[in-house]
Structures are given as structure tokens and as C-alpha cells.
Symmetry: none
Subunit: 213 residues, 4 copies
């Protein structure tokens, strides 16, 4: 059963419904990555998918829900990818390297997803002007890095860091990686592998113990 006011919950979705939603999300990513968030309309996404606008309204409550779905799917995919690469590492130093490496690798494998999400984060707002996604302020993304920095101080991998310094460093790590995302948006041929190597060195230096002087 489907009405205009209620969409099925994920667990109740039919196979066809799942497939359509996935298709629409994919097309949304394509359009956003290619034309930019500002130029992305329901009708352009429908055009890309070769379906009528109504289909999108039928499967998603609103444009906002579709956009949120895009972000969620990309984040989930990224998290799964990165987790599988960090799993098994024990020392904070190694985990940090795996974190940077796998994040950039995921970017290299899914450039359009990255570009689309970058566009959305930067642009999506309510009509009143409030941001739809507050990633930077969102501890959800900073917390694991901060934990990692704490672990490194315990296991002797990293230099001592005040709580504030740790937060700044964590933020810097995320901003730097997100910055690569922006660059990727501008230059799809970006040499991500070399970037990966350089960033690992950079943050290795930035976390080294003081006594190394």
C-alpha cells in the first residue's frame, strides 16, 4: 500500500521499490556531480533516469528526503569500505594511515559520489536558510579520529595533545581530506595515490612525539 503521505519504511519496501530508489539515488548523484547541486532539479534527475517526475515524488517524500538518502548511502558505503581497511590494525599510527589511505582510495573509486556529497553538504539548506547537514560541527565524524588520537597517546604512537589540540588536529585531518574531495570535484584526474602518500607523511609528522626533536 502506498499513499501520498506515507512512504514504506525500509523494512517494508518491495524489491521493485528498492531498485527504483537505488536507481533514482544513482541518477541524483550523477546529476549533482555533473551539474552541481544548484542546477539539480527533480525534473533533471527524472530526465537522467528516463522516467517521469511523478515517479520520484512517488518513491520519495520530497526532494529533501532524496538528498538525504544520497548522503546516507555514500556515507555508509564509505564507512564500510574504510572499516574493512582499518580492521586488523592495532597501533594508532597504522590505523591513522589506514584511515587516510582508505578514505582517499574510496574517493578514487567513487569520484562522483564524493563530488555529489560535497556539493550537497556545501549547498543544501532549508528555505529559511538553515543548513541541512552540519558535518563539520558534527562530532559523529570527528569522534573516531579524536579517539584514535587518544589511543595513539596511550600506545605511545603520538605526541601528547591537549583536548583542544586533539580536536583541532582531528578537524584538520578531516578538513584536509574533505579538501581533497573539493579538489577532486574540480579536477577528476587528480593523482589521489600520491596525495594519499603525502598526507600520510604529513600527519605522521604532525603526530610525532616531541622528544623526536
Amino acid at each position: 500500500m502506498r499513499t501520498n503521505n506515507k512512504l514504506n519504511k525500509p523494512e517494508n519496501r518491495s524489491f521493485i521499490e528498492d531498485a527504483r530508489r537505488a536507481q533514482i539515488v544513482d541518477c541524483a548523484i550523477e546529476v549533482i556531480a555533473t551539474k552541481g547541486f544548484v542546477n539539480t532539479s527533480i525534473s533533471r534527475i527524472a530526465e537522467e533516469a528516463g522516467i517521469s517526475k511523478g515517479v520520484i515524488s512517488y518513491h520519495f517524500l520530497s526532494k529533501e528526503e532524496l538528498i538525504q538518502q544520497v548522503v546516507m548511502e555514500v556515507y555508509q558505503a564509505g564507512a564500510i569500505y574504510m572499516d574493512s581497511h582499518m580492521k586488523g590494525k592495532v597501533k594508532a599510527k597504522d590505523i591513522l594511515k589506514a584511515y587516510i589511505e582508505s578514505n582517499l582510495a574510496f574517493m578514487g573509486d567513487n569520484p562522483k559520489k564524493i563530488i555529489a556529497v560535497t556539493e550537497i553538504l556545501a549547498n543544501a539548506r532549508t528555505k529559511e536558510g538553515k543548513r541541512l547537514f552540519d558535518v563539520t560541527a558534527n562530532d559523529q565524524f570527528l569522534a573516531p579520529i579524536i579517539q584514535l588520537l587518544e589511543l595513539g597517546q596511550q600506545d605511545g604512537s603520538f605526541r601528547a595533545l591537549s583536548t583542544f589540540s586533539a580536536k583541532v588536529l582531528a578537524t584538520t585531518i578531516r578538513d584536509t581530506i574533505d579538501g581533497v574531495g573539493f579538489q577532486l570535484a574540480l579536477d577528476p584526474n587528480l593523482d589521489l595515490e600520491s596525495y594519499s602518500k603525502e598526507l600520510k607523511i604529513l600527519f605522521d609528522l604532525a603526530t610525532r612525539k616531541e622528544e623526536i626533536i
Copy 2:
């Protein structure tokens, strides 16, 4: 004096014309910073300025030109501010610190300008989807930092860096600072002074000579 379909070149602008353009640019900054680029329309800017929409169309060839003007003015103001702070420094280490320090200080003094430009860079596109501003890829912003890193290698302030590493490091420095801009957009009460201090330490470590090991 005005010809049809054409705006006067900067050198031919009357005093009134200049004043109006400045007023409109200021109001555009206010609206973009407050409501976001996506929610900024000519009419909202006109409302903010207390003038009719026609005035804006009269003084600017298009919305695009107005947006470009906003970015240019903020960049110029920032450059002047930062130059005045870096002037007199000799050693690369000190210049880098002044660079970071003055950039964040400018952000603290002009949060709305920063937020507006951040919004524009992230969002502004032509109708075909091409970005209006390619800042990251734009060597204009990276070049001075790269030069600084070269100077540091010559004057013995910094560790040795390959050309590529220097570019990555320069990019990281810019991305990190730009990231602070994003955070500022999300949290206007951001403690920029502490951020300034932390970033100076961070990039001091990241540029230190290897023999420090």
C-alpha cells in the same frame, strides 16, 4: 553615461555608480552569509538594500557579475590585510606564521565576508553546470604558499620537499584554513584565536627539518 547592454568599465564609473555597486555588494554579502547562496535572489538583495530589483540589474550585467564582484572584493580586502601583516618578516618560518595568523584574524574580523565567499565558491555555477570559481585548482592562491615553502628550504627554516610534496602541503595549508572558514559558517562563535595558535604549531611541526628525528 551608459550605452545599451553594456556597463561602464571601472575607470569610467561615476562616483554614484561606484557607491551603488559597493552598497549592493555589501548587501549581497549580508544576504548570502545569512541565508546561504541557494536562498539568495536578486530580490532579496534588493530588499536588504532598500532598493528596487531594477537597480541591481542596472548596475550589474547579471547576477553572475555581482557574485564575482563579491568574491573579488573580499579577496582583495583579505590580501591587503594579510600582506600588511607579513610585510617585514624575513624568515619563512615567521612568514608562514604571519600568513596563518593574519588569515584567521581577517576571518575573525570579517566573518560574514568569509561565509559569503565560502558559500559562493561552493555553489556558484553557470546554468550549464560549470563552476564559476575554481579556487582550489587556482594556482593564484597556492603559488605564494609554494614560494614560501621554497624560501623556507633555502633559508633553512623548513625540511626538504619535492615539488609535489610542496604542492600537497601548500594545498593542505589552504584547505585547513578554508576548513576553518566552513566551521565559522556553522559556528559564528568559533574560537579563532586558539585555532590560530594550534594551526601555527601544526604546520611548524609539518615543516620541521628531518634531523629533528
Copy 3:
């Protein structure tokens, strides 16, 4: 059994078919009474009924037919109710009182039905703008009252009335009662009993013989 593009005639409807139609009509009444005719869509009715939109299209030729069914069912129910109250009365004066009394009593017992029909009569139109129901002009509703007024003149209950006057008076009686329906739509707690008493007095006065002067 169903042929394409055609619904079974009433006499050929299966038990299930009848039950479904009744359920849908009831839900339509609920939605129209609650949200107003303008806000009533097939999908909202389906939602109320807990069924899919398709079911409604399956059981009713069109939205129009469903709406007509709602009106018919309420009218029939009202007529049965009123007839049972007027039965046995002999004098026109008493029948008129029973008419007014039972009509308002039916309203009090079935407020949602009354509100729904009121909404429909006021709103329902074809796409070309033609009214679906022409109640006021419809002699079907005026005829029995006019007959009653004639009876009253014969049995000496009522004052003499020209044909035209009788029609106006009949119309006034109906409009007044329908007006109560409107008020009921606006205030569900309307004191219908008192209204009933007042209206009986009012039309008693309005029908009294001239010699009363």
C-alpha cells in the same frame, strides 16, 4: 465478474463488492467532513480506509461516482429517518413540525454525514465547471414541502399561499435547515435541540392564518 471499463450494476454486485463500496463511502464521508471537499483526494480516502488507491478506482468508475454515492446514501438515510418520524401525523401543522424536528435530529445524530454532503453540494463540479448537484433548484427536495403547504391550506392548518409564495416559503424552510447544516459544519457543538424548537415556532408563525391578526 467484471468487464473492462465498466462497473457492475447494483443488482449484479457481489457481497464483497457491496461491502467495499460501503466502506469506501464511509471513509469518504469521514475525510470530507474533516478536511473539506477541496482537501479530499482519492489517496486520502484510501489512507483512511487502509487500502490502496487502486481499490477505489476499481470499485468506482471515477471520483465523481464516489461523490455521488456519498450524497445518495446520506439522502436515503435521512429520508428513511424523517419518513419514520412523520408517519402517523395527519395535520399539516404536525407534519411540518415533525419534518423540521426529524431533520435536525438526523443532523444531530449524523453530523459528519451532514457536513460531508454540505461540502459536496457546495463544491462538487465537473472539470468544465458544471455543478454536480443542483439541490436548490431540484424540485425533488422542494416538492414534498410544497405538497405539505398545500395540504395545510386544505386542512385549515395554514394561511392561504399563492403558488409562488408556497415555493418561496418551501425554499426558505429548506434553506434555513440547510443553513443549520452549515453552522453545524462550523461548530460541531451546536445546540440543535434548541434550534429545532425555535424553528418550529418560527415556521408556525410564518404559516399561521391571516385571521390571527
Copy 4:
């Protein structure tokens, strides 16, 4: 000056603005009266006026504001017309006759206005289902009639009435007149003059003193 968020207040409207608003209101009345409220869209009104849809959005904040304007203008015109006819009458009996007479005369002179407002009152709702206009419950329209009934009891024109009875009678008078509006909507050739005569007799009887028995 005009922006999207703000319309000029009545006192600041230019001549052209006033003319356009009047034209649009007239066309709205025409369309609503002809096609029904349900079938009245901004685009149909624009079509009727021979202008683009944008013009309507430019001159009215929303469809709702336009609709309210229609109601207000018709009410004002009606009130002015009726007041001029009741002015000079002293006895309640005469005022009541003038009230009924002038109201129906106004209807006869402005059938489309009456039909349009009737349509609007019956149909206009918010998206949540709340009525935009609550005329019946609105004492604004009942109060003058109730005052008139009080005056009649004082000056000896009318029979004694309890407060409640007076309200019911006032409501009946309004509903009956509004009912004529409905009939007019259904039959534009309605003999309003005869109706006027009949209603005056009817409510004369309904207000006569009891001792007349």
C-alpha cells in the same frame, strides 16, 4: 519599490497597481462564478485577464490574499449599497424591509459577485482543512440584525424575543438570504424581485407581535 516578500500597503499603491489589482479581482470573480472555486486556478484567472501568471503573483502575495480581496471587495460594495438604502428609515419594521430588499437588490445587480463569494465561503480552506472564512459563526454579520430585532422590540414593531430566539431568527434571516444567493448560483434568471417581496412578508409575519393572535 517592490520585492517578492512584501507588497505595498494599500495607501502606498500606485495608480497602475490599483488598476491591476482591481482587474485581477474582477477576473477572479468572473472565473470563480463561472467555473466554481474548485476549478479556479491562478492560471485560469491570468488567462481570463489576458496576462501572464506572474503578474498575479507580482500583485498578490498569494492566491489566498487574492481570494480574501475578492470577498472583502464584494462585502464592502454590498455594505455600502445596503447602508444607503437603510439610511433614513426609523422604525425597525421598515429597516428590516430595507435590509432584505437592498440585499436582494444588490444580488440582482451583481449576480457574479454573489456567486463568487458564495463559492469562496463554501470552499476556501487551508491545506490543513481549516476554513478560511467562518461567516456563519461570525457575529460581524449577525450583530446588526440582532440589534435591529432589539430595536424592534423597543419601538414596538416586533414581538418579544429571548436572546437565543433573536439569534436564531437573525441566523434564519441571513441563511435565507444566503440561500437565495445559492439559488442564484444555480439559476441566474431567478426572479429576485418576487423573492424580495415574499421574504419581506415572511419575516414580517415572523416578527409580528403575539397579541395579533
